[in-house]
Subunit: 324 residues, 2 copies
Amino acid sequence: MSTHASDKNLLYKIAKAYYQDELTQHDIARRFGLSRVKVSRLLEQARQEGIVKITVVPPPGTFADLERQLEARFGLLEAVVVSPSRYDRANVVRELGQAAADCLMRCLKGREILTMSWGTTLRATVDALPSRNWPHMTVVQMAGGLGRPEAEVYGSDLTRRAAQALGARSRMIPAPGIVASKLARDALLADTHIAETLAMAARADVALVGLGALTPESVVLQVSSLLTEEQINELKALGMVGDIALRCYDAYGRPIRHEVNERIIAPELEQIKRIPRVIGVAGGTGKYESIRAALRGGLINVLVTDDRTATRLLGEPDDPHTER
Amino acid sequence: MSTHASDKNLLYKIAKAYYQDELTQHDIARRFGLSRVKVSRLLEQARQEGIVKITVVPPPGTFADLERQLEARFGLLEAVVVSPSRYDRANVVRELGQAAADCLMRCLKGREILTMSWGTTLRATVDALPSRNWPHMTVVQMAGGLGRPEAEVYGSDLTRRAAQALGARSRMIPAPGIVASKLARDALLADTHIAETLAMAARADVALVGLGALTPESVVLQVSSLLTEEQINELKALGMVGDIALRCYDAYGRPIRHEVNERIIAPELEQIKRIPRVIGVAGGTGKYESIRAALRGGLINVLVTDDRTATRLLGEPDDPHTER
DNA sequence: GCCCAAAATGAACAAATGTTCACTCTCGAA
DNA sequence: TTCGAGAGTGAACATTTGTTCATTTTGGGC
């Protein structure tokens, strides 16, 4: 329903008064002898008819629209896309870490429970954390450690360093991530401290996780002492494309049923999904399938990645399996 | 204070979410893990920094900006500018009448007291009134009549016709506008009905008035039976440039002190100024000085005129005497 | 490490805006 | 004329947004 000229003129004058002169609808109503409700409706009409145009200017050199598409497509709370200056693994990881740290800091206020796994990307994230003094925050280790206990890269190290940077309390899991048998795990879970720590991780406000993939660097694939070649092949055969905190998932982000699950010290995927904010950080070559799966399965709701991966993720047709 | 790229990116995403996706600030806050207040502030910043641009598109073929300038310059509630198809007096008056009728109808709701003077322009206005059924409205004659009582153009005629068109009650002044002596006027004002009608006019919600000018067609100048040539010259000598409902004013819209005032049956200019909405209708050649004076003196707060006069009114330097 | 000024924060409040719903008005048909 | 459908209206209510102010946090100097 279009209106004739004199009506448009009124719409224009009211819109000018509202958006330009910043009068309130109440004032405009009094001025023109209309009711406030009517002014509200006329403004609505002015927007409808394009008399008022609101544009949001994309800041140059950012990937805001790519991010918005990712958010929309995969139902994310937020997507963060970085454009690495070089695409070698070390640099991608460093820049992802920086972006993830920014993104994390933005949503922390200093009184939350933060849980985190470990991995190269998260290490870069921790390295990029600014220093704070947040005694009311707790950083909780999400999964048991891997590798030899004296190797500081995995296990409690990142949690400790993150807590230190933020001036927060920390809560460690003094146990390996994969143990030799279900029995061994049950024994460890009988330990009050370990059980409570896992419970705490499960009810964290924010989780910060890396997305493992089937690349040669993969942590999971390297612990040959506990996972045999055969078991790894079984997992692959069951469709495994990646893991979050040792919990393996298939191409749709569904947990893989396998005996190995019973030997892992970490929250289950279903528990992780219940955490309000799960920030997944991953990018670079080889992570694509794992990220896609985590997105499809709704395992994470914030994604920090690089522009190439982002573009690739959007390059596919829509997919009915996508959950969120 | 400018911000760096990643901040702008956040501003952009929030602005998009707010203005484009129409999420509430509350939702956006939850989504990005911020407080609502912060989102409000970031949006403010986004507008400041020009990330959000709001434009109001002027509808073609109207004089909205001319109107807005008039409003701003003379502190009007509203200005209405028409562009007559031809500039002969008859046509200008007809189109002014149409516009004035629209403007009047827009601010009437059907329960007000409307008071009106008379004149050719107001006649055109009344002719353009649509038909309504507003039994709770009252149309009050503002000034006594002029000319021979049997001539229907002046006096009560317009008031009656306006009331009829609107289905409203009417209230007439059964008396001439200018009488022979102060004594005669006092006698008339002793009449309860006349006195009450004038009082009612003075507390009207809306007044509709023509602006008289010193043109040959002027009604005031033609009533030679009551105003002598000499008196008219005296008025001119005192600076008279026009009148509203027989009340003469000078170039700054100030009332002119003269004996004639005491013989007029109409509210004083000061009383008219107190009416919340005084719509002045005038345009075409010769009305300029009178309009300018009425605007300067704040005698009217809504002006309906033609584009040439409007342009001319804006063409002058600012003037410290202007009141509103 | 400690301290301070300045900036940032969010809870509580105040204002502005949007929405609903019962009612009124208008217009056209009978 | 009367009648009724449909549009239009604004009071009351609900929601959203803006502002203030006491407090916290931050960054920088020592």
